[in-house]
Amino acid sequence: MIRGPKIGRMRTRMAALLAAVSLMQGVPAHAYAFNQVVADARDIRNNPYTACPAAQRFNTATPGIADRRWSTSLGAAPQTIFTTQDSNPAARLNEIEQSIQTAFSIWTNVSGATLRPASLGLLTRTPTQMACNPFDGINSICLNQPDSGFSTGVLAFTTTVASDILTEQPFPANPPATFTGEILDADVYFNPTDPGSTFATPAALPSRPTSFDFESVLAHELGHFFGFSHSGVWRAMMFPFAPSPGQFLGDRPGPGALDAPLAEDDRTGLRVLYPDPADTVHAGSIRGRIEPANLLSLGGQAGVTGIFGAQVAAVDEITGEVIGATLGGWSCNVPGPAQFDGSYWIERLPVGRSYRVYVEPLDGPVTSASVAGATSALCRNATTDPGWPAQAACTVPIVHTNFVTRSRQ
């Protein structure tokens, strides 16, 4: 069973800012940690348009659409220090490829999600060192491609390219975009120039305790590849820091649990991003609004009627595990841009279980600037985009942090 939010978990830092959670009708927006895109309201191809932010994701309705290749150019300079158990050249490539396949299978074997092995095209090899190019429409993994985007201490990054216009076809060999935010190209780069970045396959890791587990780092990057941003849940695959050298992230995948390295938060996010309409197990949702007792506490920001930027989490009442967490504060209940009404929606929760809902302000070390990356993509306006129509425009409000939470004793 799914229970509604517990209202009494918040107390005020100032009496006038007594915050409360109330269940409301309507359709709040997804606020999971996904990369977002707002459709270009100026382009007639988006007519009728919605200015509601859309999560970036692949189109899994077309099997095999996400083709993949990886660069076998390991020997060319700059050389990534990469250890495999088997040093035979052919076996070495096979060992690396096995790790790549395993990392993909972690994400394609989550029940209740339409991202399946068949969604992916064949994994091929290319000898090209500079195989990663965001403008070629080919999804690539590059282990030693130098890129001036790297800086010291960055182990790896992923670039996803999405269009903000329906039917946009930037890559002639690929089909046009069928929805706003469709990922049209994704590339994963490993840093070959950082002196502290050495990698090892899982088979070689025990003998290389100072190296990072290649499979764990890649599995995290593939979360970005498929549209995820980062998660604030410490155990989640999408938690931003790599595991310590010599260690794996999460449980090891096995024949019966290929997705074992993922946390429930990752699985819930994947089910939201790639929902399976036939899934009746993860069909629960909790939604509501976070409202202040006194609207004046919102600071008089135009169009803001609820707390913005609070983290909301559904926790299994029995195990205490975070099943899903979301950044709340906005919805698309009415046509037009995002409405900053304090809404949240935690979806794809397993039914038949009880949850507690916690609301946490992004206070303490957090400022509006430090969450700007997560929220800045929610709005476009004439300042960000010349000629943007007023009826599709919004401005991201200041994050509200003037309330605190506590747990019931």
């Binding site: 940690a33 990369n35 270009d40 965001p134 403008f135 890129d147 001036s148 985007g149 800086s151 010291t152 201490g153 960055v154 182990l155 790896a156 990054f157 992923t158 670039t159 996803t160 390219v161 999405a162 269009s163 903000d164 946009e168 930037p170 950082d194 502290g196 990072f212 780092v217 995290h220 990057e221 941003s229 980062h230 998660s231 604030g232 849940v233 410490w234 938690f239 931003p240 820091f241 790599a242 983290q311 205490g320 975070v322 967490a325 950044l327 946490e360 992004l362 303490g364 070390p365 957090v366 400022t367 600037a369 430090s370 969450v371 990356g373 997560a374 939470t405 747990s407 019931r408 004793q409």
Partner: protein, 187 residues
């Protein structure tokens, strides 16, 4: 049991503070590591940003006015080039790259990029936001990765990671001490 659960996951959720501002996959670096790697450490004010495609990537350039060079020698105005942004109809997303708001003040650990431009050392780890405490007006410094605490599964406790809400004077003193040890401080 419930209280225990609540306390550790609340701390976990609080680490979501840096959503979008945290690293893609970063190697943890101490202040000493950052100071060693950075060619310059500056206090600067953001003047504005723009994105465009160049050399097979989409980049965002952010212009800063430097008010203080704590390490290294930099001009009064610097351009920081970071990967990702929007060019034409395409949006290139790279999680973990810091983005800046016009007018905000930061302390940045910088290393040279190509063409006389700069990049931020270790992205979010080398980015420190300056904000004023509402009650006192004092300046506080917070590292973009500070919300990402270190979790000890054995104790289910979080240890603060990074610099968070440290008074500017204290941070500057600490930074200068680190740089002085390395003979790199500007006086």
């Amino acid at each position: 049991m419930r209280t225990k659960h609540a306390s550790w996951w609340l701390a976990a959720v609080a680490t979501a503070a840096c959503l979008g501002a945290e690293a893609t996959t970063l190697r943890r670096m101490s202040l000493e590591d950052l100071a060693d790697s950075a060619h310059a450490v500056v206090r600067a004010r953001c003047l504005g940003s723009e994105s465009r495609a160049q050399g097979g990537q989409i980049w965002t350039w952010t212009r800063f006015e430097v008010s203080e060079a704590i390490k290294g020698s930099v001009p009064e105005h610097v351009a920081v080039r970071l990967i990702g942004g929007r060019a034409g109809k395409l949006t290139a997303t790279v999680n973990g790259v810091p983005r800046f708001q016009d007018g905000e003040e930061v302390i940045l650990f910088l290393e040279p990029s190509r063409g006389g431009e700069w990049t931020v050392t270790s992205w979010a780890q080398g980015t420190f936001r300056i904000h004023r405490e509402r009650a006192t007006g004092r300046e506080l410094v917070t590292q973009d990765t500070a919300g990402l605490s270190l979790f000890d599964p054995a104790t289910r406790e979080f240890q603060p990671g990074g610099i968070r809400r440290v008074r500017m004077e204290e941070f500057r003193e600490r930074l200068r001490a680190v740089l002085a040890q390395r003979g790199a401080v500007r006086r």
